[in-house]
């Protein structure tokens, strides 16, 4: 099929950036979205144009490197997929596809579609862990965990830190990301000891890093490629009230 791409091009942090239109012919429906961009880049290189910069690594939806804003939605029209898992079969011949980086104050654009998500690392650094040194752990089965809780903790723990939730949110809030980590650790007996302090520190840090507030619109949950649920935010709120 033949498609038209409107891609955000921005040389560096300082550059203002603009959309550039590219016609791309002979796109296969078997390509993934990123393979389509690879294909575009090979063409641009042949024509002595600058290829489009975008991040990716695992290309199977687990590393969280790749998220893009596609036709006004994070990761495009398919549900529960990362950008690297998006298939070109969801588009039709003649389609125009708009491709943008994440837009959020906390994630400045570095170049083209590449953004700086260090703010997520800063959040985890602030307290997204259990403070146990290597060697200090007790025998693993001495801490039984209700299967139900372990399963819920896993469901929260599968967050890939891609930033979709922030990109989807009109307030650019990081609540889903933070609540997933808070939930995972708060659901486990190992994590309870520091639960109060953890939630306090992380909520404070979120504000400091320039993320917006949560106004419960739920678009983060709707767009999350890993199906992280809003109940985690409810759990964070509960933990937060308990912490004061």
């Amino acid at each position: 099929m033949n498609i038209t791409l409107k891609i955000w091009r921005q040389k560096n942090k300082e550059d203002k950036g603009k959309f550039v239109t590219y016609k791309l012919n002979n796109v296969s429906t078997e390509m993934t979205f990123l393979e389509m961009l690879d294909y575009l880049n090979e063409k641009l290189i042949k024509e002595d144009q600058d290829p489009v910069a975008f991040d990716s690594d695992c290309r199977e939806g687990i590393c969280g490197s790749c998220g893009l804003y596609i036709n006004g939605r994070p990761n495009g029209p398919q549900k529960s997929v990362t950008t690297c898992q998006l298939s070109m079969s969801v588009f039709k011949d003649g389609d125009t596809i708009t491709v943008e980086p994440w837009r959020s104050k906390a994630f400045p654009v570095i170049k083209d579609l590449v953004v700086d998500r260090t703010a997520f690392d800063k959040l985890i650094e602030a307290g997204g862990y259990i403070s146990v040194n290597t060697g200090a752990a007790p025998e693993a089965n001495s801490i039984p965990v209700k299967k139900h809780n372990a399963d819920r903790a896993f469901e929260a723990g599968v967050c890939i830190g891609c930033g979709t939730c922030v990109a989807a949110c009109k307030n650019a809030s990081a609540m889903l990301f933070v609540s997933a980590k808070i939930s995972q650790l708060a659901l486990l007996p190992q994590g309870r000891v520091e639960a109060k302090e953890r939630v306090r520190i992380l909520v404070e840090k979120m504000d400091e890093l320039g993320f917006g507030n949560c106004s419960n619109t739920g678009s983060c949950e709707a767009e999350c490629p890993k199906d992280i649920k809003l109940v985690n935010i409810a759990r964070l709120n509960r933990e937060y009230y308990k912490a004061y």
């Binding site: 650094e125 602030a126 862990y129 146990v132 896993f154 599968v158 890939i160």
Partner: protein, 639 residues
């Protein structure tokens, strides 16, 4: 060059590590504060090492090429991590895991290292659980286990199909805590391009800031490489697309020996190549072989849909050929068997290059929910990639490049042949011989990082406490920086017509054809010739778009492909040298009557460690003889 000294401690196998720990030199806490350590790479190995070393009091500088260390390739590992807890009471023990790994590796690994890996395995699980890894549990609240290929006990701990993600994040969080404490500093989006050696010791690295393009110098008292494997040399692989061999290769060129580079694992259960644009292959975890049955039609070229092929028309060839282990034979065996069936014309799918992995019986026996609980994430992943629902139709799978058993040669202390330069995790060669067993890499990476390196590096650093902070203003740093800049400039200035990726694809094709699951003298010789030609063409006609001083993925790729071309040559030379078959290294000239690998213990019971001797001269082979004091090498049998 002196003989390779593996520094294996004296004493009985099960006591070596304990004795060693009791005898290594120590650095007191006050002195640790004065010592800097660079760790390149922060996957399961690097992050666990950096976190632990920082907890001990050293100053850590950590480098990764991704934007965050949470994205290291380890995040993608799926099926599980082994330990000898024996929670299942199925007679597991350190010795049994040790034996399984030695046998699984076809008697080409070092006994003492492998035993130690088994010995520290339980502490890893304790550590991860304490850090909050949500491993699968029974209704009782206790930890669950499953079995993995090549073994007959259930010793694998898992978190659905995302065990690596959970373990890597735990290590990442532990490292984050040290960053907050000011004991570790993270340098993300950096490519390490060279190692700096001063007076024979590793003292620093040269990096490129991937955003600004700036070439930087970083120094330390010791350098640790945790840069992962180079299975991407085959282009299509189950690894993350940016995984590479450049850091290890830079170390090799600076004097670190490269061990068994041709020992590459081709994993049996990947989603097959679906089209020519494909940029990577998606793994379907080996854990699926616990419940999935592998088969092809009994009739050649049978194109009917799988569900129309009746039970008696199916050839469950693994169960037929290997009744004792069935679908759970080790990876090398399963991969070769799939290739053999497909080469004979029994393969399925449009290209005939795939076999079925079928869950029909498991779903009938255990119910859909039970299967979903075990493999839900993997089934979803399969459906996303192929559009086929594996609850209703069998999966189609084919072998793919997955893991490198070979890597930088290290002694028992995990030190390379350059004093002060260590290699941990997949980047080293140490524990898996000629074939790795499932769920044993996360175990080795975590063991190296949490429990082994933090002890052994002290033995070296104890003699460095009087060495002041290393200056980066030395002739050695000047020279290394100059060499890096020259290489990058050279790449930019070729201004040819073909992209780095197009060369990578062609290199991958050469290796896959001649140095993949089956190899022979003639093919390998052809490969060598074709790689030389491709290298010549690369340096004459590569086109690197963009500029030096900006974010430039094309330049990053070009530098990696340049190294892959040299590394590929070394891989093929190693495969040519080893005139025997063992594990994943299958030389067609050396096989038993049943088509199994035929080892030559008399002549090849050694680790092949290659020394770089210059751009235009052949590498020099050093042999570390493998001594088997506790197991007797036998012909592997899974029948």
């Amino acid at each position: 060059m002196a003989k390779l000294d593996s520094k294996i401690p004296d004493g009985p196998l099960a006591e070596k590590w304990t004795r060693h720990q009791a005898s290594v030199k120590l650095v007191n806490p006050a002195n640790k504060k004065k010592l800097d350590i660079i760790v390149v790479g922060a996957g399961a190995a690097g992050a666990s090492a950096a976190a632990t070393l920082a907890e001990l009091g050293y100053n850590l500088k950590v480098f990764v090429f991704q934007d965050s260390s949470r994205r290291a390739h380890s995040i993608a590992s799926q099926g599980g991590i082994n330990a000898t807890k024996n929670y299942k009471n199925d007679a597991d023990s350190d010795y049994r895991l040790f034996y399984d790994m030695i046998k699984g590796g076809d008697f080409r690994a070092r006994e003492a290292n492998v035993y130690r890996a088994a010995e520290v395995s339980n502490k890893i699980i304790d550590q991860y659980v304490a850090q909050g890894v949500p491993f699968a549990r029974e209704y009782s609240g206790y930890l669950a286990n499953r079995s993995f290929g090549g073994v007959q006990v259930s010793r694998t701990f898992y978190a659905q199909g995302q065990t690596g993600q959970q373990c890597t994040l735990a290590a990442y969080q532990a490292l984050s805590r040290q960053i907050k404490a000011g004991k570790a500093k993270m340098f993300a989006r950096r490519d390490m391009l060279d190692i700096v050696v001063i007076d024979g010791k590793a003292r620093g690295i040269i990096t490129r800031d991937l955003i600004t393009g700036e070439i930087e110098r970083h120094s330390a008292h010791a350098v640790v490489l945790a840069t992962g494997g180079f299975g991407t040399v085959y282009y299509l692989s189950t690894l993350a697309v940016n995984s590479n061999g450049s850091a290890a290769f830079a170390a090799y060129k600076k004097g670190a020996f490269m061990a068994n580079p041709s020992m590459a694992q081709i994993h049996p259960t990947s989603i097959p190549v679906l089209n020519e644009y494909q940029s990577k292959l998606t793994l379907m975890s080996e854990s699926l072989r616990n419940d999935g049955r592998v088969w092809v039609p009994k009739q050649k070229g049978d194109k009917r849909p799988a569900n129309e092929i009746k039970e008696e028309e199916r050839d469950y060839y693994l169960e037929r050929k290997y009744p004792a282990f069935g679908n759970l034979v080790p990876r090398d065996v399963a991969s070769r068997a799939a290739k053999e069936r497909c080469d004979e014309g029994y393969g399925v799918g449009e290209t005939g290059l795939s076999v079925y992995l079928d869950f029909r019986d498991a779903i009938n026996n255990q119910g859909k929910n039970a299967i979903k609980a075990k493999y839900g994430t993997l089934f979803d992943l399969y459906k996303k990639v192929t559009g086929i629902n594996p609850y209703e139709e069998p999966m189609r799978i084919y072998p793919a490049s997955h893991y490198t058993m070979g890597g930088l040669w290290v002694d028992y202390n995990l030190m390379t042949t350059i004093p002060g330069l260590y290699a941990i995790g997949e980047a080293n060669f140490s524990d898996h011989g000629a074939n790795r067993l499932g769920a044993s890499s996360l175990m080795q990476c975590s063991g190296d990082g949490y429990f082994i390196l933090p002890v052994t590096i002290g033995d070296y650093l104890a003699d460095e406490i009087k060495t002041p902070r290393i200056s980066t203003d030395t002739p050695e740093f000047d020279e290394a920086e100059k060499a890096v800049k020259e290489k990058l400039n050279k790449l930019m200035s070729v201004k040819g017509t073909q992209s780095p990726t197009s060369f990578h694809k062609r290199l991958g094709h050469i290796l896959w054809t001649y140095s993949g699951m089956k190899r022979n003298e003639e093919g390998l010789t052809t490969a060598l010739k074709e790689i030389n030609e491709l290298k010549e063409e690369f340096w004459r006609d590569v086109k690197v778009a963009g500029e030096l001083n900006e974010l430039n993925h094309e330049l990053e790729k070009a530098a990696r492909v340049a190294d892959f071309l040299d590394l590929a040559k070394l891989i093929v030379m190693d495969a040519l040298n080893r005139k025997e078959s063992c594990g994943a290294h299958f030389r067609e000239e050396y096989q038993t009557a049943e088509g199994e690998p035929k080892r030559d213990d008399e002549n090849y019971s050694y680790v092949a460690a290659w020394e770089y001797t210059g751009e235009d001269s052949e590498p020099k082979l050093h042999k570390e003889e493998l001594k088997f004091e506790y197991v007797t090498p036998v012909q592997r049998s899974y029948k």
